[in-house]
């Protein structure tokens, strides 16, 4: 049996996706049985030149994790595409831009100010900012430039399959391994564009019971609740949970721990804008029984209890959201 040549490339990432692959534990042996890693800089000693040295199309499967945050990320993604028969967007960042894409909110210059000058833990009296080029003692040093937007992988290259999650959970990676095995053994693949995760939403696998009416008076953080009912829908207990809008497949890891779903698997196939859909559902349910008694101000007060709404509803999907398009880059 010919082993699959697999490359794992990365962009703006925390490398949690790499760790997630290693989290397969002993199952990693199954992976090694069918896979030869020809490029995986996080885990082994590879340089970009190793990837460049491969023939076009020589890599069977190229996994890419992380957002496209720098010019270099984009370049690596394009090289991976050229070298790979199949490209898989691996993890929330590659799928939707992920957490790095929240930087699309402030514009580049402002983002630099926030990170390098204004953050409370930063001491930068000279106000030095990252430069693409700088000369130190006659030597020219270069850094990849930061793009205006941190984007999903499919905004720069053609992507064949998607594995969402922050990071993709072991059951999902096992599914990927199964897909690879079928590919090795039978040569068949899922339809292009397939998302390797559940089709429906988290509620279906969460297992908590839904009360007759889901209606909440206020939002609370889990730590504010004296005792969380472990069997009752978190939303009905006032704990913000993106489960209703979020693709299933994780096995309800967070909600089992009394933590509301953060939405890392993104929306279903039917939905373009994850956060908007959740906001729409949430506000439809908000005090649904007493709607008529509430004024706009009352509702505003309720909603004020949601900390950082953008970061809450778009934690992983801001990069592909419709709302991010409302922020044209005026500061050019």
């Amino acid at each position: 049996m010919n082993k699959l040549k697999v490359a794992v490339a990365l962009g703006a990432t925390c490398a949690g996706c790499d760790v997630a692959i290693l989290d397969l534990n002993e199952k990693i042996l199954d992976v090694i049985e069918i896979v030869d890693f020809v490029f995986w800089p996080t885990a082994m000693d590879f340089k970009l030149d190793d990837l460049k040295a491969l023939k076009d199309g020589e890599v069977d499967v190229g996994l890419y994790h992380g957002a496209i945050g720098t010019e270099e990320d984009e370049e690596i993604a394009k090289i991976l595409r050229k070298k790979s028969k199949i490209v898989v967007a691996f993890g929330a960042c590659a799928n939707f831009g992920g957490i790095p894409s929240l930087t699309n909110m402030p514009y580049e210059s402002k983002m630099f100010d926030v990170v390098y000058k204004e953050s409370p833990s930063t001491s930068n009296p000279e106000g030095t900012l990252p430069q693409k080029e700088t000369e130190i003692e006659g030597t020219k040093l270069t850094l990849p430039g930061i793009r205006k937007r941190a984007d999903s992988l499919n905004s720069v290259i053609d992507v064949d399959y998607y594995v969402p999650g922050c990071p993709p959970m072991v059951p999902l990676i096992e599914q990927v391994v199964d897909v690879l095995r079928v590919f090795v053994e039978k040569g068949t693949l899922p339809p292009k564009g397939a998302v390797i995760a559940g089709q429906d939403t988290l509620c279906k696998e969460c297992g908590r019971t839904k009360p007759e009416t889901i209606s909440y008076k206020e939002f609370v953080s889990p730590q504010e609740v004296k005792e969380i009912d472990p069997d009752l829908c978190l939303l009905s207990q006032g704990i913000l949970c993106l489960g209703p809008a979020t693709r299933s497949g994780c096995g309800a890891l967070c909600t089992k721990m009394n933590v509301g779903c953060r939405g890392c698997l993104g929306p279903t196939d039917k939905v373009d804008d994850h956060g908007l859909k959740m906001i729409s559902a949430l506000t439809s349910l908000l005090e649904v029984e007493h709607e008529e008694e509430y004024t706009e101000e009352d509702f505003d007060k309720l909603l004020e209890k949601i900390p950082d709404p953008l970061g809450t509803f778009y934690r992983f999907t801001y990069g592909v959201s419709m709302i991010s398009k409302l922020h044209p880059d005026k500061e050019e």
């Binding site: 089709q199 429906d200 939403t201 988290l202 509620c203 279906k204 839904k210 009416t213 889901i214 209606s215 829908c233 489960g243 209703p244 809008a245 299933s248 929306p267 279903t268 196939d269 039917k270 939905v271 859909k277 959740m278 729409s280 559902a281 439809s284 349910l285 649904v288 008529e292």
Partner: protein, 653 residues
């Protein structure tokens, strides 16, 4: 999907309504140029016969399979054009309306821009119509029986009309007798007929009608189902007296030791724990007030039972749940009056001689607590000066009811006039803001009181009423003279307004009927559908939807009955098929849709673990589709993809 979409666009001039702001010629040219359409035609009035014929002939001549009529709001003529298309052999759901009147010509002046906008609206509608699938209306069998909730004059009239039309009716009334507030009134304006005399024949007719099943001391506890097929649970509370055995001998009240306020007489007189609300009560039977009776659990006293020769009394009666199916429901749950206890400036209802209009009705009534002699509650003296305060607690958005209750001016005028008839040397003073007499013969009635019967009308509000010796000092202002006025009165009658009854509030929750800001039931359309609720098959009659006088209430009742009868008259109902559908592959069973559906049309089918739409109940409002967080719900012929395409067409240059 494969057949070529042949779209025909028909542009209506609507006389000058559209044509004066939209350049029709230019619009047609634009549509021909920009969009893939088979034909563009226009007509002066598309809704006219020639207009409809043009549509029909073009469908056949050009083999059109999609039609757009660019005209007025779809609320107006969508059915017109859909049936015209159907006559020409086209599925009616392949016809769409592009609203270029309400949304274009009526709201814009700039002809060029308006024409451009009209063209875009048509373009957007093309995106919809080419995605439309042919649909068939849903057919729903009808239970040919009606439920009327509330046994006041509205419920009585509605029940009689439906029964006379030949359908079975169940009339449910909470209290032990039908008759409602009208049974409490003395005479009625402007004709001064005795209220009881005109009401009781109808009450008797209800009790005798073979098609009417009367359930008193009963409440609706749950309503399920939908138009044509409501499943209703009614709790019949025990009356503890067998209606069929009771011979009205009145022996029981003589021995009953429990004395309580008589609510029929507005607590101005006592009654016993076993009683008959009033002599002409229907059903004609005594009833035991279980709250105060000493015979019901624990059995302390059974004096009435001991003297009842016909053995009509049974302390062991239990509530009974009756389950029945109905095709239509009429809600006639009436009103309460605004409590005078809420009105601080007039003494919070604490002074016995400051009474409400309804209290005064009882004092005027021949069968009232004073046998029709006007005596004031404090000392029983005949009052020589009576002040009637109009708008007591009404038209006062800061403190009380913001609205006008329509009938108070007239009933206060009637009160003053009747008082003058009974106390010839008495003085009646009416303080008013405006005297509103919009009704047949109402103005004449008011003139008669003011001019012939010498009722004094003072234009101004009463600011305060205080006790002064054994009289009341009424302080107010005469706004015509611009002077402060102080009057000593023996009795003050507050003309309080109407508020939704408790029963109205309860039934609105039970039936999921929406209410206006005042808590009255909302009509489907305030002008064109005054007796329909937003839920099909449920109708509203009388004061449940707002203050009304008796003639208006009775005509509403007949209207609602006629509406209900149109449903009962058919074996099957046709319903719009543009309803919600759920894709189970992406649905996560999050219950959001169940919670937001205003019609109770969505439920989780536990058996197959699927969210399911009750087709007959779904009104196609789209609330669920908007709220569904997994994007699994769409309305038929309104897919997300289609809506996006429509928006795109509107935004594109």
């Amino acid at each position: 999907m494969d057949e070529k979409k042949k779209v025909g666009v028909f542009v209506c001039h609507c006389g000058r309504n559209i044509a004066q702001t939209v350049d029709i010629e230019k619009l047609m040219e634009k549509v021909r140029e920009k969009y893939d359409v088979e034909l563009v035609e226009d007509n002066m009035y598309m809704c006219s016969d020639p207009g409809q014929n043009l549509l029909k002939e073009s469908i056949q001549a050009k083999n059109l399979n999609r039609v757009i009529v660019a005209a007025c709001s779809r609320d107006m003529h969508e059915p017109t054009f859909r049936s015209a298309a159907q006559e020409a052999g086209l599925n009616p759901y392949l016809v769409e309306i592009a609203n270029i009147r309400e949304q274009v010509s009526w709201v814009h002046d700039d002809k060029e821009k308006a024409t451009e906008k009209a063209s875009k609206i048509i373009g957007s509608t093309i995106e919809k119509v080419i995605r439309d699938e042919p649909l068939e209306p849903l057919k729903i069998p009808v239970v040919q029986r009606a439920l009327v909730i509330g046994g006041g004059i509205a419920g009585i009239q509605a029940a009689l009309d439906i029964a006379d039309a030949g359908y079975e009716v169940t009339l449910v009334e909470k209290s032990p007798t039908i008759g409602g507030h009208m049974a409490q009134l003395a005479e009625t304006f402007p004709t001064l007929d005795c209220s009881q005399c005109i009401l009781t024949p109808k009450m008797v007719a209800v009790s005798r009608h073979p098609k009417i099943n009367l359930l008193t001391t009963s409440e609706v506890v749950s309503v399920d189902g939908y138009v044509g097929n409501f499943k209703v649970q009614i709790r019949k509370n025990p009356r503890y007296v067998d209606v069929d055995k009771c011979n009205l001998c009145d022996d029981c009240t003589a021995v009953c030791p429990v004395v309580v306020h008589d609510e029929y007489n507005q607590s101005l007189s006592p009654r016993k724990a076993i009683y008959i609300p009033f002599p002409q009560a229907v059903p004609a039977s005594y009833v035991i007030d279980e709250e105060t009776c000493l015979g019901i659990d624990p059995l302390i006293c059974s004096k009435c039972k001991d003297v009842c020769l016909v053995e009509a009394i049974n302390f062991d009666m239990q509530p009974e749940i009756i389950e029945e199916e109905f095709g239509a429901i009429i809600v006639a749950t009436g009103y309460d009056t605004y409590p005078i206890e809420n009105i601080g400036e007039y003494g919070y209802g604490a002074h016995p001689d400051i009474i409400s209009g309804l209290d005064f009705e009882r004092l005027l009534s021949a069968n009232g607590p004073t046998q029709g002699v006007i005596r004031r509650p404090s000392d029983g003296k005949v009052p020589k000066t009576v002040v009637f305060v109009h708008c007591a607690g009404s038209r006062d958005p800061a403190k009380h009811l913001p609205y006008c209750s329509k009938i108070c001016c007239m009933y206060s005028t009637k009160h003053a006039l009747q008082y003058k008839h009974l106390v010839h040397d008495g003085t009646a003073i009416n303080f008013y803001i405006d005297v509103r007499t919009a009704g047949k013969d109402y103005e004449e009635f008011y003139k008669r009181a003011a001019e012939e019967e010498k009722v004094i009308y003072v234009r101004g509000k009463v600011s305060e009423i205080i006790e002064d010796g054994d009289q009341l000092l009424v302080k107010g202002v005469d706004t015509l003279l611009g002077e402060a006025v102080e009057v000593h009165a023996d009795l003050v009658v507050l003309a309080t307004g109407l508020v939704p009854s408790k029963g109205t509030q309860e039934i609105s929750h039970l039936l999921k009927l929406s209410c206006d800001s005042k808590g009255f039931l909302k009509e489907a359309h305030p002008k064109l559908k005054p007796v329909e609720s937003a839920l099909s098959g449920i109708f509203i009659a009388g004061t449940a939807s707002g203050p009304k006088d008796i003639p208006e209430t009775v005509s509403q009742a007949s209207g609602a009955a006629a509406k209900a009868a149109t449903i009962l008259a058919s074996e099957f109902l046709e319903r719009e098929p543009q309803i919600a559908q759920v894709d189970p592959t992406t649905c996560g069973l999050c219950h959001t849709c169940i919670n937001v559906c205003p019609y109770g049309a969505i439920y989780l089918d536990e058996g197959v673990r699927r969210i399911t739409v009750r087709e007959a109940l779904c009104e196609g409002c789209g609330s669920c589709a908007a709220a569904c967080p997994s994007g699994s719900i769409e309305l038929k012929n309104s897919t997300s993809e289609g809506i996006r395409a429509q928006i795109k067409a509107l935004l594109q240059g």
